[in-house]
Each structure stands twice: as structure tokens, then as C-alpha cells.
């Protein structure tokens, strides 16, 4: 099959269709059949390949092994998150997705954020989800985990969205240089090793965390404070809602009968 015959638009269209189809096959629809499951994954893989080819045709997508691996892991585990029949499996797959995302962020040079994703998301938020699952899980596979709400339309919507996004991403190109970029480039052009624009790539990696912190608490101090307040409000809010919602446990504990106030025994040594 000579892919050169296919125009990028056609490839994109095929990829979108296959994505929609594979998602639809994978989503829980009430009937569990192994062949459908494998077909869905196969089509998804083909669709992904189609996206990659379309992206190559549209623009230039370079090849980087690490990035590719990490991206694949992320995407596959992301798909598995949403199609798993069991919510616990979804949570586990989500953890893997987070690992993949952290890898992508590291490849992009955002070291702090990569680690922060693991720590905050996988460490705190995901654990919270698992706690809630433990408290609220159904016995056995619930019926509502085995069916989806409008799987076909949603799969189509998601696929079309993806196609649009890919199209617009693929059409990206470097525009004419802005004055700031030129100034930056002229500064950077003093250093002999950096080509035009390459200075931008290195400017974030050097002394990354310190500079990130400096930027955060420098220019965005107010936002940081607001975020802190937000966290406080969320904390208080969640406790307030929970405590109002349960009528028995806390109230009973507070309603002590007055007659049983215990006296200090006499023989307590001082």
C-alpha cells in the first residue's frame, strides 16, 4: 500500500474514523466478547499509525525513540483507563498514564512538573480515588460499569475533535520573527554554539527549579497566595459537606448525658 497515494487529509479522515470505531468497540456496551476487544485494540493501533503518518505529511514529525515510547505508553494506558470495565483497573491504568505523562514532561524539559505530577497526582489524588472506591464500591461488576452512555456519538465526537486538533497542530509553522524573539536571538547569537531559536530551548533547562521558583514567587506571587487560599477553602469545604451529610455518627458522640459526668477519684496522687 503506497501511502504516497493518500493525501494527508484523507489519511487524517481514515485515522479519525478508525479511532472512533476502535473507541466504540472498546467502550463497555453490555456485551463482552473477546474478539471485539482485540479488534478494537487493533483498530486503535492502526488509527494511531494513521495519525502519525498524517502528521508527518502535514508537517514534520521527527522521530525520537524515547519520546515515542513514552507517548505510546501514555496513550495506551489512557485508552485503557477509559475502557476498563472495573473502576479499580481504571485507577491503576490511570496511574500508568500519569507515569507516562511524567515521562513526556521530562522529555520536554519540565523537570519539576514531571516529578510533581507523580507526587501530587499519583501519590495523592489517585490514592484518594482508591479510598473512595473502597468506600463506595459495588459488589461484583455493576451494571453501570458494563454499559456506556451514547458510545457511538461520543466516540465520533472525540475522534472528530482529535482530527481537528491534529489538523491544526500539523499546520503549525514558525512565523516571522517578532522583535522580542529577534532581540533574544541576537543576545543568544553571541554564544557561538546556539543557532537562532536554540537559545530558547536551553533557556528553561538551566537552573530549572530555582528559576521556576523565582518566576513563581516573583511574578505570580499573588496567584500562589490565592492558590493557597483555594486549598484551604477546599479543605474546609470538603469537611463541612461531609460532616453535614452524616447525621448520626458525630451527633451522637456529642450528645453526652449530663448525669454521667465522671468525678475525679479521690485517691489520685498529685
Amino acid at each position: 500500500m503506497n501511502l504516497a497515494l493518500f493525501s494527508p487529509g484523507l489519511l487524517l479522515a481514515i485515522a479519525v474514523t478508525l479511532t472512533a470505531l476502535s473507541l466504540w468497540l472498546l467502550l463497555p456496551r453490555g456485551s463482552e466478547s473477546r474478539p471485539v476487544w482485540w479488534l478494537g485494540w487493533l483498530l486503535g493501533a492502526v488509527a494511531l499509525a494513521g495519525f502519525v503518518c498524517a502528521g508527518k505529511r502535514l508537517g514534520g514529525i521527527g522521530e525520537e525513540a524515547v519520546f515515542l515510547t513514552v507517548s505510546l505508553v501514555t496513550i495506551v494506558s489512557g485508552t485503557a483507563t477509559i475502557v476498563s470495565r472495573s473502576p479499580v483497573y481504571s485507577a491503576i491504568w490511570f496511574a500508568l498514564t500519569l507515569a507516562g505523562v511524567a515521562g513526556v514532561l521530562l522529555v520536554l524539559g519540565a523537570q519539576f512538573l514531571g516529578v510533581a505530577t507523580i507526587v501530587v497526582y499519583a501519590g495523592a489524588i489517585l490514592v484518594m480515588f482508591l479510598f473512595v472506591l473502597m468506600l463506595a464500591q459495588p459488589s461484583g461488576l455493576a451494571s453501570y460499569d458494563r454499559v456506556s452512555s451514547e458510545p457511538l456519538l461520543s466516540a465520533v465526537a472525540g475522534a472528530v475533535l482529535l482530527g481537528l486538533l491534529t489538523l491544526s497542530i500539523g499546520r503549525l509553522s514558525v512565523g516571522p520573527a517578532t522583535p522580542e524573539a529577534l532581540a533574544l536571538a541576537s543576545v543568544a547569537s553571541d554564544s557561538p554554539t546556539a543557532p537562532a531559536g536554540a537559545a530558547a530551548i536551553d533557556s528553561l533547562e538551566e537552573n530549572h527549579v530555582a528559576r521556576l521558583g523565582g518566576e513563581l514567587f516573583g511574578r505570580h506571587l499573588l496567584a500562589v497566595e490565592a492558590a493557597g487560599v483555594l486549598l484551604l477553602v477546599a479543605l474546609i469545604g470538603s469537611i463541612a459537606i461531609v460532616s453535614r451529610g452524616e447525621p448520626d455518627a458525630t451527633d451522637n458522640r456529642l450528645a453526652l448525658p449530663p448525669a454521667t459526668a465522671t468525678k475525679q477519684p479521690q485517691g489520685v496522687p498529685r
Binding site: 452512555s149 456519538l153 465526537a157 472528530v160 475533535l161 491544526s168
Partner: protein, 761 residues
């Protein structure tokens, strides 16, 4: 009093009853049992005024006339009231409608555009004066009678206001000098008749009868309306009298002096593609249709017997003396129009004589006293039409003479029947009472006077008028026996020789002699067909029919008299214990009318005053009519024939119903199958019901169905569209949150797609 001008008096004659009607309407409830006062006062004033006008006009005629042999000068007085409508340049006579302005040579420039203008004008001429006197005097007597008759009725004030309103409408009808105004009041008397027939509207039969009367009259009104349209088209004006146009030229009225003086003034030419004379014949036939509707001639007679559901005084005034004579008045007024078209004229007589006979036959088997009188009215009106259709001066004056005497004795008979009904507790079936002459002597005596007048017993009034009618019919049937004033029997549509002597040659070629192979085929042959009926043998048949009808009239009248007033006294239970003579307020009019029935005929005939007086009416001074004037002569042979017929009728009635046999049904058994035919009124009602009413009901039902399902359905469909759309949209509100989110996402995607499509390049 002497300083009141005739114009003012002429205006007062209709206005006083109108004022009475309005006052009764406003204050009737407050006046209570005296609610009759305004109406009676108004009608009495009108009666006085019309008598004064009658006297004045007759003096004027006396001054104008000389010896009989000279043509009588027309006497008329026009009182314009106001201009009702004016449309400038509404009518331009076609270049060859010479009937538009008679006597002027053919030229386009002489026929300038005229305005459509209706002047409400009152006229006073002998015919109008006579009619006014009859209407108001008889109306006054009947109104006085109604004081007693309607005494206990809860609708007492309403009755009198309607009564006075009717008198106003009728007087305006006979005094109007414009065809459109006549039409207006033609409808007005129809409306008053409807209101009076349906006076007791809670009774379903009365409501139905009123509706029937109005609808049948409507058919006649349609004829009158179309006739008015055609008259406007042909003559360019609707006035009877001559008027002056804006630039001083005389616009000749349809019955004005200018046109009447011209013998060819009514010959309409081949304008607008009609064959010569067709449009004139059509106009006359339509006027005849209108007269049939109002005067209850066949085939529009079906409403009059049912109209007896109304109160008896209303029947007496409207359906005996005045409203039904409007048709006779109209034909007499339009005498020149009819005489110019002999075909239409002979149709008038045929219709009249046929109606007279049919109605008389039906009346012989009626058991309801008022029904007998109703059919008798139809029959006598038929007599008047038969007389009008002869087209001679004697014919017209005899018809009006009979109208006058008929007004007296028929009103008398109706009031007498009302008196009987009043004391019999509402029962009017003759088989249920008898021998009432011992109980109600005055009523019986006056009723007998009226019956003799109706039957044509000499020297009562009816004898003379009926004799004159028979005379004029005889003169048409046996023209050679009547000397030198006949119209010869025309061949194939040819006008008579006297007329041809008077008309210019140009008109003869265009008007009468339409050759058999004329290009305008059908219409000419219809006219010729009608004209061909104007033969002596047709007239002979009509004469014989009238004679037989005279005998039948006497029969059924005296059958009614014998069944009601002779024999053993028999009173139905509804009468209770109040069987007595009517109070004086009711018997006084009876006596007065009886006196009139007795003497009026003899007086008017012996002095020949009425005929002489009426001959001064402008319409009757038309050459073709005035030429036929004869010296008043007593036709002994006709008198003998008439009296013989009446005597035979009375004797047969006596054999069947006098005395002890007064409740016997012998005559009905004698008639056999004919009796069924007559008793079912020749099945006219059933025929109309099947032919006309049922299809209309079907059409109405169909229209109702279409209205309900199609039209309302369409409207409902328009309403159902939003409902349907809402029903569809409602499905979106499922309560499933994820579907809502999906809808949002798809909406965003659509917008983005649209944007991307726009920006693709």
C-alpha cells in the same frame, strides 16, 4: 291647518307613525297598558293627513281633467327630501341606447356622463294618494282592534311599535319616487313582516314561519334587485320623475313625464348585445318575480299560509290589506314598462289567474279559518294580477279598485276570525266550534258582510270590483265584442297598430319586428314565445279560470261562514266560560269595516270616481294605456255570469255545511283524491323542500364539515406544528447528564468545524 302645504303633509304621513314607533319603543314599558297611545296617535295623524291629501289630489285631478274623452293630464307632486348618494360620472350611456334619452337623435355627444345620484324624494299622485289612504285608514282600524286583541299579551308595546314601524315603511314604499328607495322599503316591510309573524318567537312554529316568509320574500327581493340593476343600466337613472342635471338639461326619469310622453320611450334597443326587447322583457319578468314574492303568487306563495302564526291583527293588516298589495302597486306603477312588452304582460295575467285558481282549490278543503282566509287572500291577489296583466286602463284601475275593496273586506274577515279566536280561547279549527252567531252576533253579522263582499254578491263591494276584472279579461278574450279600443292579437312579436302609428319608423324596425331568423337566436325566440301567448284563446282560458275561481271563492267563503256561525252551538274546552262577544274596542272596527265593505263598491263604481281619479296617475297616462280607456258601462252578461257562479258556490256550500250539517266532512269525501291534492296544497312545500331546501341543507352541512375539519383543521395544524416541535425537543430533556454534555461537545465541534471550513485555504 290650512297653511300646511301638501309637501309637509306628505312628509308627515310617514313620519308620524315612525315617531309613534320610536316613542313606543322608548317609553312602551313605562306606559304599560297605555303603550298603544303613541302608535295610535301617529297612525291616526297619518290617516288624517292622507285623507286630506286624497281630497286635495282629487280636486287637482278634477281641475286638470275635463271631459272623459280627452286624455287626462297627469297629476304628480314631487317633494325631494335629501340627496342620499352621488357618484360623479358613474354612467355614460352607450351611443346607441336611444332609450336613455328618448326623442333625441343618435349622437355620441348628446349622451354625456351622468352621476349616480339617489335623491330621497316623495311623490304624490292619485295612485299614491289612494294607497296611502288605504294603508293608514285600514291600519288605524286594525290598530284600534289590536288594543283589545293584544290586551293581555306581555309583548304589548313591542307589537305597537312594530305596527307603527310597518305603517311607516309601507307609506314610504308607496310614496317613494326612486326605484332604490322603493327597494329599501320593500325590504323594510319584509323585515317588519318577519318581526310580526315571529311575534311570539318562543313558539317554534312561529319562528319557522317567520323565517320561511323572509326567505321566500328574499327570492322576490333578488328579482327586484337585479331589475333595479338592469333599469340603471338601461335608463341611466333610477328616479321615477324627471330631474334636472347640473347643466340644466332634463334627465328623464323612468316614469317621468318626458319619457311617458314619448310612445317609443320604453323600447330598449339592441344595446350590449341583447336582442331587441329582451332586456325590457327581462326587467318586467324580474319585477313580476318581486311582486310574486311580496304578493304571494305562485310559485312564491308558500309563505302566506304559514304566516298565520302571527297575531291576527298583523295578519289582517299585513297579509290581507297592505303588504301583499305592494306587488300590485309595483306593477301598476311600472305599467308603461309592462305595456311596452306584451310578453311580460301576459305572463302577469297567467301567473295571476293560475294562482287564483290554485289557491281557491286549496282553500276549499282547509279547516283552519285563518288558513281559508290566507288562501283567499292569495286567490284575490291573483285576481288583481290577472287584471293587471290585461294592460288596459280598465285592467289597472280595476286591480286598484279590487285592492281597495279587498283591503276592507279581507281585513274585516281577518278581524272577525280574530274575534272568534279570541273568544274560543285560541282555537281556530272550524271543526271544533259552531253556531257562534248566537254567541257572537256582531261578529257574525260583520263576518257575513265581509263574506258576501268576498263572494261577489251584489251590491256588496266585491261584486263591483270583481265584475270589472271579469270585464277587462273578457275584453281581451273576445276583443270584437268590446268595440274599438282593443289591442289586436299581435302576430309573432309585433307591437300593436296604435302604437306603431305613434312610433317613428326607425324605432319599429329596431324594436318589435325581430325576424324569426334573427342572429341573436335564443333570446329573441323566448321573447317571441312570450309574445305569442298574447292571443285571445289564452285570454279565454284565463277568463274561464277566473269565473270558476269566483264560484270557488263563494263556495269556500260560505263554507267557512256556515261551519263557524251556523248549526248547533259548539264550543271547545279551551274557551272556558268566557265565550262572549268581543269588547267594543274590537267590534267597532268590525262595524266600520263592514260598512265600508257594503257601500264602498257601490259608491265608487256608480260615480266612476276611482277609475277617473286613477287615470290621472302619470304611469297610467302613458299613451298605450290611456288609449284603452273605455266609457264605464255595466256589462250585464258578465254580471249575470259572475253572480251565477257565486250563487252556485253558495248553494253547494249550503248543501254541504249549512245548519245541522255544519260539522260534516261531506265535501272532502266528495272530492276524493283531489281532496288530498288540495289538502296538501298541491305539494308545493314538499316540492320546495325536496328540490331546494334539502340540497341547501346538504350544502350547508358540507360547508360546516369543511369549515370544521378542513379550515379549522388547517388552523389547528398550524397550532400543532409548535406542539410537534416541542414534543420532539422535549425528548432531549432526558435528565441524563452525560447526554447533555455530549450535546454541548457536539455543538462546539460543529462550530469549530464550520470555522475550520471557512478558514480552509
Amino acid at each position: 291647518m290650512e297653511n300646511i302645504s301638501p309637501s309637509t303633509l306628505l312628509m308627515l304621513v310617514p313620519l308620524l307613525p315612525l315617531a309613534g314607533a320610536i316613542l313606543t319603543l322608548l317609553f312602551g314599558k313605562a306606559l304599560g297598558s297605555r303603550a298603544h297611545l303613541p302608535a295610535i296617535a301617529g297612525i291616526a295623524g297619518a290617516a288624517l293627513g292622507s285623507l286630506v291629501l286624497l281630497v286635495g289630489t282629487s280636486l287637482e285631478v278634477g281641475v286638470a281633467a275635463g271631459v272623459h274623452a280627452e286624455p287626462v293630464r297627469p297629476v304628480e307632486m314631487i317633494t325631494p327630501l335629501w340627496q342620499w348618494a352621488t357618484v360623479e360620472n358613474a354612467y355614460t350611456p352607450a351611443a346607441d341606447t336611444q332609450a336613455a334619452i328618448p326623442g333625441t337623435p343618435l349622437s355620441a355627444t348628446t349622451h354625456e356622463a351622468r352621476p349616480f345620484s339617489i335623491t330621497v324624494a316623495l311623490r304624490l299622485d292619485p295612485l299614491t294618494a289612494t294607497m296611502l289612504a288605504i294603508i293608514t285608514c285600514v291600519g288605524l282600524l286594525v290598530a284600534i282592534y289590536s288594543i283589545g286583541y293584544m290586551h293581555h299579551d306581555p309583548g304589548y308595546p313591542r307589537f305597537f311599535s312594530l305596527f307603527a314601524l310597518f305603517v311607516f315603511s309601507m307609506t314610504m314604499l308607496v310614496a317613494a319616487s326612486n326605484f332604490l328607495i322603493v327597494y329599501v322599503f320593500w325590504e323594510a316591510v319584509g323585515a317588519c313582516s318577519y318581526l310580526l309573524i315571529g311575534f311570539w318567537f318562543h313558539k317554534p312554529e312561529a319562528a319557522r314561519a317567520a323565517k320561511k316568509a323572509f326567505l321566500v320574500n328574499r327570492i322576490g327581493d333578488f328579482g327586484l334587485a337585479v331589475a333595479v340593476f338592469l333599469l340603471w343600466m338601461s335608463y341611466g337613472t333610477l328616479d321615477f320623475h324627471d330631474t334636472l342635471s347640473a347643466n340644466g338639461t332634463i334627465v328623464p326619469g323612468i316614469l317621468g313625464q318626458t319619457r311617458l310622453a314619448d310612445a317609443g320611450g320604453y323600447q330598449l334597443s339592441d344595446a350590449a348585445g341583447f336582442a331587441g326587447g329582451t332586456i325590457g322583457t327581462v326587467i318586467c319578468l324580474l319585477l313580476l318575480l318581486a311582486a310574486c314574492g311580496k304578493s304571494a303568487q305562485v310559485p312564491l306563495h308558500v309563505w302566506l299560509p304559514d304566516a298565520m302564526e302571527g297575531p291576527t291583527p298583523a295578519s289582517a293588516l299585513i297579509h290581507a290589506a297592505t303588504m301583499v298589495t305592494a306587488g300590485v302597486y309595483l306593477v301598476t306603477r311600472c305599467a308603461p314598462l309592462f305595456v311596452a312588452y306584451p310578453g311580460a304582460l301576459v305572463m302577469v295575467s297567467i301567473v295571476g289567474a293560475t294562482t287564483a285558481m290554485i289557491a281557491a282549490l286549496i282553500a276549499t278543503v282547509q279547516n283552519d279559518l285563518k288558513r281559508v282566509l290566507a288562501y283567499s287572500t292569495i286567490s284575490q291577489l291573483g285576481y288583481m294580477f290577472a287584471s293587471l296583466g290585461t294592460g288596459t286602463l280598465l285592467g289597472f284601475t280595476a286591480a286598484i279598485f279590487h285592492l281597495l275593496t279587498h283591503a276592507f273586506f279581507k281585513a274585516l274577515l281577518f278581524l272577525g276570525a280574530g274575534s272568534v279566536m279570541h273568544s274560543m280561547g285560541g282555537v281556530i279549527d272550524m271543526r271544533r266550534f259552531g253556531g257562534l252567531r248566537r254567541v257572537m252576533p256582531i261578529t257574525a253579522a260583520t263576518f257575513l258582510c265581509g263574506a258576501c263582499a268576498l263572494a261577489g254578491v251584489a251590491p256588496f263591494a266585491g261584486f263591483f270590483s270583481k265584475d270589472e276584472i271579469l270585464a277587462t279579461l273578457h275584453s281581451k278574450a273576445w276583443p270584437e265584442a268590446h268595440g274599438n279600443h282593443q289591442q289586436e292579437s299581435p302576430a309573432a312579436g309585433h307591437a300593436n297598430t296604435e302604437m306603431s302609428r305613434l312610433m317613428p319608423t326607425a324605432l319599429i324596425s329596431s324594436a318589435g319586428t325581430a325576424p324569426v331568423g334573427s342572429p341573436s337566436g335564443n333570446a329573441a325566440s323566448v321573447k317571441d314565445g312570450l309574445n305569442s301567448l298574447n292571443r285571445p284563446d289564452v285570454w279565454r282560458v284565463l277568463f274561464l279560470m277566473s269565473l270558476v275561481t269566483a264560484g270557488l271563492t263563494a263556495f269556500y267563503t260560505f263554507r267557512a261562514v256556515f261551519m263557524t256561525f251556523t248549526g248547533p252551538v259548539c264550543v271547545p274546552e279551551e274557551a272556558g266560560h268566557s265565550v262572549h262577544e268581543s269588547p267594543p274596542v274590537m267590534t267597532l272596527p268590525l262595524v266600520l269595516l263592514a260598512a265600508a265593505s257594503v257601500v264602498s263598491g257601490w259608491v265608487l263604481w256608480s260615480t266612476d270616481w276611482l277609475a277617473h281619479f286613477l287615470s290621472a296617475t302619470p304611469s297610467l297616462t302613458f299613451a298605450a294605456v290611456a288609449q284603452t280607456a273605455v266609457a264605464p258601462v255595466f256589462h250585464l252578461n258578465l254580471a249575470i255570469q259572475g253572480t251565477l257562479a257565486a250563487a252556485i258556490g253558495i248553494v253547494i256550500a249550503a248543501i254541504g255545511h249549512l245548519g245541522r250539517r255544519s260539522d260534516g266532512p261531506q265535501m272532502e269525501r266528495f272530492l276524493g283524491p283531489f281532496g288530498t291534492l288540495f289538502a296538501n296544497q298541491f305539494w308545493f312545500d314538499q316540492l320546495y323542500s325536496g328540490l331546494i331546501i334539502k340540497p341547501f341543507m346538504l350544502l350547508a352541512t358540507l360547508a360546516a364539515i369543511i369549515d370544521r375539519s378542513v379550515i379549522d383543521g388547517l388552523v389547528e395544524c398550524v397550532a400543532r406544528v409548535p406542539l410537534a416541535i416541542g414534543g420532539l425537543l422535549r425528548q432531549l430533556q432526558s435528565g441524563m447528564l452525560q447526554r447533555y454534555a455530549l450535546a454541548g461537545v457536539m455543538g462546539v465541534l460543529l462550530m469549530v468545524l464550520a470555522l475550520a471550513w471557512q478558514l480552509r485555504s
